[in-house]
Symmetry: C2
Subunit: 365 residues, 2 copies
C-alpha cells in the first residue's frame, strides 16, 4: 500500500493508495474511529461500493446514508442543507464522522457539510474517480457552486484521511477517466516536465486502465499536490498555481450551467486556453503550446467547449475567485513544467485567446 | 479610546471600545480597507446607524446593504444564502469586506457568510447591543440556527476588527440591555469573583446606563473573553467554560422556537440552572447559588423560562454541540469565579435541576 502524508502540523493526514481499500476493515477502523458515521454518496457510486464500505466499517457503529443525485448540477447549498438536516435529525454529535464516497462533487459537498456542522466535524475522503483521487479529495478545499459561479461558497477543511481505492477506476466510464487526466496533465505542466513527458509516453497504457501506470499517475499527482498544499494551505501564493486551466475552465462550466461538461473536460479546454494565452503573451513557444493541445486531444478531452461565446466566457471569468483589484489573475506557462501567476498581461491577449478558443463556430468543428 | 487585542498570531485583531466609533472616518479607513463593502444590518438597527456608518466609510467605495428582519428567528441558512446571493450578484471579489452592524444575530450570520464566501473574506464587527459587544462579536464563532438546535451550522472565522460603539447602548431597549448583562455576569462567574462582586455593587448604575460603568463592564468582559480565545481559539479546552449557562440556555431557546425569549434571557435562566445543578452536585454552596439567582433577578432577567417541560429541555440538550460519547458535558461552578467542565455528575442531579427550574407550573409563578 502506497502512503503519502500531507504535512499540515496538527491537521496532517495520510493519503492511502491501493486496490481494495474500500472493504478493508483494518484500514477503516484506523482512519474512521467515529461511532456515528454519515456516508455521503450518489446514485451512481452507491450501488457499486456502498455495501462493501458499510461491511468494512463493521457492526457496532451507527451508519446513516445520504445518497445524492449524480452530477455537478447537484453540488448546491440546498444539498448541503439536506446533509445537515440528516445529521441533526440523527442527533449526531461533534464526535461523528462524515465519509465521502464518490467523485469530486460528493467530496466537495460532504467536506463542506462537515466543515459547517457544529463548526467542523471529521470527514474522510473515499474518492472513486480519477479526478477526485488526484485532485479534489486532497488539500481541504470544500464547497458548492452558486448559480453565479463555481465553488463560490465553501471552506478550507482538511480531511482526516484520503483512502484512494484504485480498483474503483476499473468501473469508471472512459469519459470520466479521461476527465481525470486533465488534472494529471496539469501537474506535469505546473512543475514536472519529466512527468509530462512520461504521460506523453504512457498515455495508451493509462487510457486502457493499466493498474501499474494508473498507480504511478495517481501517486505522482498526489505527491505534487500534497507538497504544494503543505507549503501553502490557504492559497496565499504557490497553491494558486494549481488553478492552471481552472479560471478558464470554471467560466466554461459556469457558462454552460454545469450540465453539459464534466469538470475535467472544462479544465482540459482551460489548459489548452492557458497554453494558447501563454503563447500569445510570448511566454510559451508554439511547439510547447502544441504539445499541450496534442496531449489533451489524445487523452480524449476537448480542446474547446462548444457553445460558449467569448463574451459569455469573460463575464463568467469576472466572478471567479481569482479576481484581485478588478484584474483577472491567470496562471500561465513559461514552459512545460513552469507555471506562474500573473495579472500582468495585455488585455488584447485575453480577448484574442477567448476569440480563438470559444464560440459556437469553432466549437462545432 | 480603549483598545484590546485578541492574540491569535496572524489572525490577531483589535477590539476598539469608545462612544461614536460608528461615524469615525479615520477608524473605518484603518480597519475597513476594502473598496467593496457589504453592510449587513437589520430593520431595527439600520434606521439608527446605517447612515452614519456609510458616511464614515466615505465616498470612493462600493457600498451594498443587506437589511434582514430583526430577531433570532431569522438567523437561518436561508438568510446566509441571501447574503451570498447579493455578494455574487454584485460581483464582489475575495478582497471585499463584510461589515456586521447590529447585535449577535447580525454578527453571527454575516460572519458565517464571510467565512463561506469564496472560502473566506474579511469582515468587521460593529456590535450595537451590549450582548454582542461583550460576547458575540468577539472570538470568531459564527453561524446560524437549525430548527433542530441553536448554532448547529457555522464556522470559526475571526473578524478583522471589532468596533464597539458604546453610544449605541443608549438606544438599547431596557430588555435588551438586561439581556446583555447575562453574559457579563457569566464572565464574573467563570473566573473573576471580584468582577462579580463589582457587578453586584454597581448594578443600579449599569441598569440606568451610566457610561463609565458600562465601559468598565464591556472592557472587563472583552478582556476575559479575549484572553480565553487567545489561549484556546477552537474550544479544545478552556474556551468551553464560556458556555456556562449556554447548554441549558440553548435548550430553552430551542424548545421555545427562538421566538419568545432573547438569547441573553435564556442564558440568564441557564446560569441559574447551572448554579442550581452545581449546588445539587455538592460543588457550590446554597449561599453562592442564591447570589447567582439574586443578581440575575435584580438585573431584570428571568430565573426560569416558562412553558418548557423538563422532558423537552432534556431532548433539546441532547442535540447541543457539547455532547461527547453520548454524555452531555456541562459547565458547572465550584464557586463564584471558578467554573469547570464535566460530564461526571449524577444523572439524577440533572433531572432534579430540570424538574426544579422548568415546567409551566413554576414558569407561571
Amino acid at each position: 500500500m502506497d502512503t503519502l502524508n500531507v504535512e499540515l502540523g496538527n491537521r496532517s493526514y495520510p493519503i492511502l493508495i491501493d486496490a481494495g481499500l474500500i472493504g478493508r476493515a483494518d484500514v477503516l477502523e484506523r482512519h474512521v474511529p467515529a461511532r456515528d458515521v454519515l456516508i455521503v454518496s450518489n446514485t451512481r457510486v452507491a450501488p457499486l461500493y456502498l455495501a462493501a464500505l458499510a461491511a468494512g466499517l463493521g457492526a457496532g457503529r451507527r451508519l446513516v446514508e445520504v445518497i445524492l443525485p449524480d452530477g455537478e448540477a447537484h453540488k448546491t447549498l440546498a444539498n448541503v442543507a439536506r446533509v445537515l438536516d440528516v445529521l441533526v435529525a440523527n442527533r449526531f454529535g461533534r464526535d461523528c464522522s462524515l465519509v465521502a464516497l464518490g467523485g469530486g462533487v460528493v467530496g466537495d459537498l460532504a467536506g463542506f457539510a462537515a466543515a459547517c456542522y457544529q463548526r467542523g466535524v471529521a470527514f474522510v475522503q473515499v474518492p472513486t474517480t480519477l479526478l477526485a483521487q488526484v485532485d479534489a479529495a486532497v488539500g481541504g478545499k470544500t464547497g458548492v457552486n452558486h448559480p453565479g459561479g463555481k465553488n463560490l461558497i465553501g471552506a478550507f477543511h482538511q480531511p482526516a484521511a484520503v483512502l484512494s481505492d484504485i480498483a474503483t477506476l476499473a468501473t469508471l466510464p472512459p469519459r470520466e477517466r479521461s476527465a481525470g487526466f486533465a488534472e494529471v496533465i496539469k501537474y506535469g505542466l505546473i512543475c514536472d516536465a519529466e512527468f509530462f513527458a512520461w504521460l506523453e509516453a504512457h498515455l495508451p497504457q493509462l487510457l486502457s486502465g493499466d493498474p501499474a501506470a494508473l498507480v504511478h499517475a495517481v501517486r505522482r499527482s498526489c505527491e505534487i499536490k500534497a507538497g504544494v498544499v503543505g507549503r501553502d494551505e490557504r492559497e496565499q501564493g504557490e497553491r494558486a498555481l494549481l488553478n492552471l486551466g481552472h479560471t478558464f475552465g470554471h467560466a466554461l462550466e459556469s457558462a454552460t450551467g454545469y450540465r453539459e461538461w464534466l469538470h475535467g473536460e472544462a479544465v482540459a479546454a482551460g489548459l489548452v486556453m492557458a497554453a494558447e494565452m501563454s503563447r500569445a503573451c510570448g511566454l510559451l513557444s508554439s511547439a510547447d503550446a502544441e504539445r499541450v493541445r496534442s496531449l489533451v486531444a489524445r487523452a480524449g478531452l476537448p480542446t474547446c467547449i462548444p457553445g460558449v461565446t467569448p463574451g459569455a466566457a469573460l463575464e463568467h471569468m469576472r466572478i471567479d475567485k481569482k479576481i484581485k483589484g478588478g484584474r483577472i489573475r491567470l496562471v500561465l506557462l513559461r514552459g512545460i513544467g513552469a507555471a506562474c501567476l500573473t495579472a500582468d498581461y495585455p488585455e488584447g491577449a485575453l480577448r484574442d485567446t477567448l476569440q480563438a478558443c470559444c464560440g459556437p463556430e469553432r466549437g462545432l468543428t
